[in-house]
């Protein structure tokens, strides 16, 4: 029974969705550990965002964990927390998923990147505490993988 429970836990991957402030989020990807942090801003109701989630999941799975870490930051409204949790567990998402707990987008958008218009999806890449690339708009698998490869070979 216990092993069944554990197996279910492993299969369902990361089902917890932690609420974070912008500062807490920045702390997670600002580490000087040679890992490329791929930070994607999305929401459960955003069709192009949901469309590209599998590519991020694949990247998280296929690249070595000591080289690449995917962080999916949901901008769903606070009251949609349960919807977000259900979405993440149903899809058995294995990447780290955070729920951003900030209301003033005019402040946090510019802190992420001054060229970000605020449209989602948007993705930022960080390495050793430095932003190495910002991208507004969606990716396909090939684009995402080649960007990760290139940024990691620098």
């Amino acid at each position: 029974m216990l092993s069944l429970f554990l197996a279910a836990q492993i299969i369902s991957g990361t089902t917890t969705v932690q609420e974070v402030s912008l500062q807490q989020l920045q702390n997670t990807f600002s580490q000087k550990d040679d890992i490329l942090y791929v930070v994607n801003f999305w929401a459960t109701w955003c069709k192009p965002c949901v469309g590209e989630l599998p590519y991020f999941e694949n990247a998280n799975k296929n690249f070595p964990a000591d080289k690449v870490k995917v962080i999916l930051v949901s901008l769903d409204f606070p009251k949609e927390k349960e919807r977000l949790k259900t979405f993440v567990s149903k899809r058995e998402m294995a990447s780290t998923v955070y729920h951003l707990n900030e209301t003033n987008a005019n402040v946090y958008i510019n802190k992420i990147d001054s060229s970000w218009s605020g449209a989602i999806p948007a993705t930022v890449f960080y390495k050793n505490g430095k932003k190495v690339l910002f991208h507004e708009g969606e990716f396909n698998q090939q684009e995402l993988d080649s960007i990760i490869n290139n940024l990691n070979n620098k």
Binding site: W45, N106, S117
Partner: protein, 200 residues
């Protein structure tokens, strides 16, 4: 070398996404678009207006939905002061059926829009403005017969909850213009749904 070339190609491909669009202080070109009320609307039709609140919005986007009432309230407050709301939906209906012209008509009726809700089917107006998402606001003022962009960005500082709003950016901008002052915060940002551009 190969890597550098590849990075250059990727960067170029990503950069070409950017819309140029208007910046604050730029002259804005008039347009003529069909409205859900059956008329065709151009800014030149509003002879007595002092300016306009041009809002790119749509039916399907949850951020746009959150602002429907607030956009209606903006029009109720500022139309009589010379700044009517002109709402424009630029989304490709082939990607979101909810955003087609028939559904726009239904939404305008159901939500009792007091402002014209226009369909930018060719997306030319959204491109000219450099709109990137819904909702995206542009406050324009008439100056010596020209239309000049005075404010661009968000409606206020809290999309999720109107009660939680601390700063009403659009209202502040128009109040300044009505008082003959310059707009203090002329550009802000908000999260929104990316405009669904037609696929080439």
């Amino acid at each position: 070398m190969k890597n550098i070339t590849l990075i250059a190609i990727v960067f170029f491909a990503l950069c070409s996404f950017k819309q140029p669009g208007y910046e604050v202080g730029d002259n804005v070109a008039d347009f003529s678009l069909p409205s859900t009320n059956g008329k065709t609307v151009a800014l030149a039709d509003y002879k007595d207006a002092k300016g306009f609140i041009v809002v790119f919005t749509c039916n399907h986007c949850p951020f746009a939905k959150k602002y429907e009432t607030r956009i209606n309230d903006l029009n109720k407050k500022y139309e009589k002061l010379g700044y009517p709301v002109i709402a424009i939906n630029p989304n490709d209906a082939a990607q979101y059926e909810e955003d087609n012209f028939e559904n726009m008509k239904k939404n305008a009726k159901a939500k009792k829009f007091t402002f014209p809700y226009l369909h930018d089917e060719t997306q030319a107006v959204a491109k000219a403005f450099g709109a990137t998402k819904t909702p995206d606001v542009f406050v324009v003022q008439k100056e010596n017969g020209k239309l000049v962009l005075k404010y661009t960005g968000a409606i206020d500082d809290n999309t999720d909850s109107e009660k939680g709003v601390k700063e009403k950016y659009v209202e502040k901008a128009i109040d300044a213009l009505l008082g003959g002052k310059s707009v203090e915060t002329a550009s802000t940002k908000a999260v929104g749904c990316s405009i669904k551009w037609k696929k080439a």
